[in-house]
Structure formats: C-alpha cells, structure tokens
Symmetry: C2
Subunit: 223 residues, 2 copies
C-alpha cells in the first residue's frame, strides 16, 4: 500500500513539474512577444507569470523534499526526485531571464522603434522548443532526446554570437541606434541563457536515466 501511495505522489510530482515547465515556456514566449510587439500589457503578464512560477516552484520543492524525507526512496526514484529538484531550479531561472527580457522591453518603450537585424522570434521559439523537449525527455526517460537538446544548445549559441556581431556592426554604422542595439544584445544573451538552462535540464535527465554523471564526463573530456 505505501508503495502505491508513493507512485501516486511521484506522478503528482510529474504533473506539478509539467505545470512549472508550461509556465516557464509561457514566460519566454510572452517576453519575446512583448519585446517584438512593444506591448506593455504583455510585460505585466510576464511579471504575473513570474509570481505564479515562484509559487509553483515552492510547492514543487516542498513536495519533493517531503517525498525524500518520508519515503526514503532508493536508486532510480531517488535520482528522479533529485533531478526534479534541480530542474525546478532551472525552470525558475528561466522565469528570471524572461523577466529580464520584459524589463529591458519596458526600457525600450521610450526609445524610437528600430528594426534590428536579429530574428528574436526564431531564437525565442528555439529556446522554447528546447525547454519542451528537455521536459519531454524527463517524462519519457528518454536520454537520446535529452542529448539532442544539448546539441541544440550549440545552435542557439551560434545565433547569439551572430546577433551580437550584427548588432555591434549596426552600432558602428548607425551610432544613433546604440541604445536599442544594446538592449537587443542583452535580450539575445537572455535567450542564450534560457537555452543554457534547458541544456542543464537535459543534462540532469541524462544523469537520471543513465545513472551516470554526464556532467563529470563532459568536464573530463574538456580537459
């Protein structure tokens, strides 16, 4: 009987993680929409979403710690719960980065509108897809899908470097747009960091599924 109860709680933990992930994804999408549409109302929505993320994070953490304390799970279940706790933290930081985008967006609303040579929509969608795939990998215990998320991280790094270079060039050529271009550089950087968190999630999934600490392997292979 206690085991049945435990598995029910585990599945509720998964449900809560999914809601947290949906909020994080919504934060990214809404922040990018707010920036592209210069929409103050959407900035406010990101702020309210951030509050909801913090509430969801707290509840998820409490549930995970309670499971750890009361059930003393072993092996695969223990690693899963530990992964959820870390992933929860990454999702919360995705909310923070999205708030950063919303804050910068609000600052650009007083500036003249400039069409920057960066596809922020594509970057945002890409980062959003990484979050979804990383969470999907967790729910399915799919290490291969998680690997693919880590590979996607290289693409968004490349997009960010290109955005950075193109915006610096714009500043050189049209110094009157320096402020707007600088905001663009920082927002691209926010998106790159969001992708990093998705990649962290994927790493934790691989850790959970394979039972091997791939982060350690990675740091050794990089020596």
């Amino acid at each position: 009987m206690p085991r049945i109860h435990f598995h029910q709680q585990l599945s509720e933990l998964k449900d809560k993680l999914m809601a947290m992930a949906a909020l994080a994804q919504q934060a990214v999408e809404t922040a990018v929409d707010a920036y592209l549409q210069r929409d103050k109302g959407l900035c406010k929505y990101v702020k309210q979403n951030e509050t909801a993320i913090n509430t969801a994070q707290r509840e998820l953490d409490e549930m995970a710690y309670e499971l750890l304390a009361k059930e003393q799970p072993m092996a695969i279940d223990l690693r899963f719960i530990l992964a959820v706790i870390k992933i929860n933290g990454d999702l919360e930081r995705i909310g923070d980065q999205s708030m950063g985008i919303a804050r910068r967006t609000k600052e650009t609303l007083n500036m003249e509108e400039v069409d920057l040579p960066v596809d922020f929509a594509a970057m945002g969608e890409f980062a959003g897809r990484m979050i979804r795939s990383a969470v999907q990998a967790l729910l399915d215990g799919d290490a291969q899908l998680a690997e693919s998320v880590r590979e996607m991280d290289d693409d968004i790094d490349r997009m960010n470097r290109r955005a950075h270079a193109d915006l610096l060039k714009l500043i050189e050529e049209k110094p009157e747009f320096t402020q707007q271009a600088m905001k663009g550089i920082l927002i691209a950087k926010n998106l790159e960091r969001i992708a990093d968190h998705a990649s962290n999630i994927a790493t934790d999934v691989i850790f959970w599924v394979r039972g091997a600490d791939v982060r350690h392997q990675l740091s050794m292979s990089m020596d």
Copy 2:
C-alpha cells in the same frame, strides 16, 4: 488579520489559474506542432500534459471551493472566485480539445502525408493568443481586453469556415485524400472550439468586472 490571509489566498488562486492557463496554452501549441510535424512523441506529451491539467484543475477547484466555504466572500471577490471556477472548466476543456487534435494526429500517422490548403499553425497561434489575452484580462480586470478576445472569435470562425470549404473542395478534386482532409476538417473544428472556450473565459471576465451578465445581454440581442 483574516482579510490579509484571504487576500493571500486569492493571490495564490490567481497563481494557480495562471499555471492552469499555461498548461492549456501548451496543450494547444503542442497538439498543433504534433500534427504539423507528424510527431508521435509530441502526441504523448499532449497526453501527459492532459494529466497535469486534470491535476491542476482539481487543485484549483478545491482551493476555490474552500475559499467560498470558509471565507464567505462578498460582491467583487465572490464574483471573481465564481469566474475562476468557470474559467477553470473552460481551460480543462481546452485540454480535452487539444487531446482530440493529438488523437486525430496519431490516426493520420498511418496515412500518406498530404499538404493541406489550411494554415493550421496560424489558427493554433491565434487560438493560443486568445487564451493568453483572456487570462490577462482576468488578472488585470480589463473588460476592454476581454471584449477584444470576443471579437477575435469571429476571425477564427471565419478561418474555420474557410478551412472547411477548402478541404471539401480538395475532397471533390482529389478524392484519394478524403481521409486526410476529413482529419483536417475535424482539427480545424477543434481549434475553433478552443477559441470558443477562450471567448467564454472573456465573457466571464466581463461578467466579473462589470458585474453585469453580458451573456444574458448577448442572448437578448440575438433574439
């Protein structure tokens, strides 16, 4: 002191509603992506998301009923909580409709791929934006924004009628694609229903904000 506690609970109720809305939006987006990319894994994700929606709906309902029972709120707060309960139901049914899309998508995976003359991505995005705006209208108590959501409903009705007509034409011209076109008709209908639920949410927001039952006015004006 009890009032402070009550307002804290109200704000937690809002947080939970936001998580529920994020899940519903994610359901729509993921279901449409699953269909367009013919991705079985994403169909499964919609299914898991549906489980998370059901859990979130139950928790939100419980919290709302508890607030009603214990706090006996009056006037604007009472109407707000009643609106949340109804909106919660609409969001859950958005999850159901998204599951319908995922189920149909799975059925199309065995069929030959056909490029249908319908922009499902645009319909899905439009419906998703309606959900977000309706929830934003609730959180901000913005009846005007809610009105605009109800107006958006006409656009998606038009898209659905056009999809329907174009797909029937395709069946006439290329009867070998009947099955795929029929799935397309049903998926467009799912999206139109999702938009209906977003429109219901907007109506409840107007009811809450204005204290007037606009649904009743509507039904009278349609007599």
